[in-house]
Subunit: 171 residues, 2 copies
């Protein structure tokens, strides 16, 4: 898919068909996150790709808005080392956002939907994925083919007016 | 450009030719940020597009690693409302990361390089852009045609080994 079409077609997908996502496609999606930029290229992230249905069902309980993970073909957990201070924490979050969007767009390009979730029960998420105590599972990305309709460019996304958000020269 | 090629071609560009970036292309780049996802779709961001050389030279002084902004054809300032608490601050940073990557990829698709910068002197950045005291200029994105070589897929990016970063099933 052309890049601009993918940018316009990406949307939050939380209902998925029962079709699996191939290992090749999951690797391509993970590759996009692996290539994402980060502050000083420090790459404060690990990604855990989960396709086991039992694990997905359990991961769906780590946050009130993670229920879609149980219906996803796969989930990619974004894991971050515990930050040293608030400044590092902010940069880590920013970098995780970049990696997340990269993976979302790579998925869109393949016709695969994504929907991310926060994590509330960090102990449980760590235990489910075998993540060491030095790290946190920061976000989960549900991955699967959209149950409603294919991913096509969205003409009028639900956003604040463009000219209100984008200023020229000055605020 | 195909999405996968753009994902593989995006790199940090901090040296730019003197060529301007058209208003149409700047709008397309900003559109990608405008379309980015955010927590509960709250869109805690405004983008200020700057092309004035005097403003760019001044913006280049708001952080020790912002000097490339003075050489850029344009900068896009990512502005965020002051967060209510640490939880909101973390989500805002995550969302800004998503919007940043979206704009970087839209630029790559047009053959345009980007390089982002933190902001240290928030008062000066606000004053230069007329941003109200209720908001912070969180990041600057330098935008311009690469001075070194065109954007082409990078075969071996400088990253930790893929199989170290990407785990299957469990950590």
């Amino acid at each position: 898919m052309e890049t601009l079409d993918a940018i316009r077609a990406r949307r939050n997908v939380r209902d998925y068909t029962a079709d699996p996502v191939s290992d090749e496609d999951l690797s391509r999606i993970a590759e996009a996150g692996w290539r994402a930029p980060s502050a000083s290229n420090r790459q404060h992230w690990d990604f855990v790709v989960v396709t086991d249905r039992g694990q997905l069902a359990e991961l769906a309980t780590v946050w009130q808005s993670a229920s879609h993970i149980a219906r996803a073909a796969a989930a990619i957990a974004l894991v971050v080392p515990r930050p040293a201070d608030d400044r590092q924490a902010a940069l880590d979050q920013y970098d995780l956002g970049q990696a997340t969007y990269a993976m979302m767009l790579a998925a869109t390009d393949l016709g695969i939907g994504t929907g991310h979730s926060s994590v509330g029960d960090h102990d449980k998420a760590r235990a489910l994925l075998g993540v060491p105590a030095t790290h946190d599972v920061a976000y989960l990305l549900g991955v699967g083919y959209p149950a409603d309709r294919p991913l096509r460019p969205v003409a009028r996304p639900n956003r604040r007016p463009f000219d209100e958000v984008v200023h020229r020269g000055r605020w």
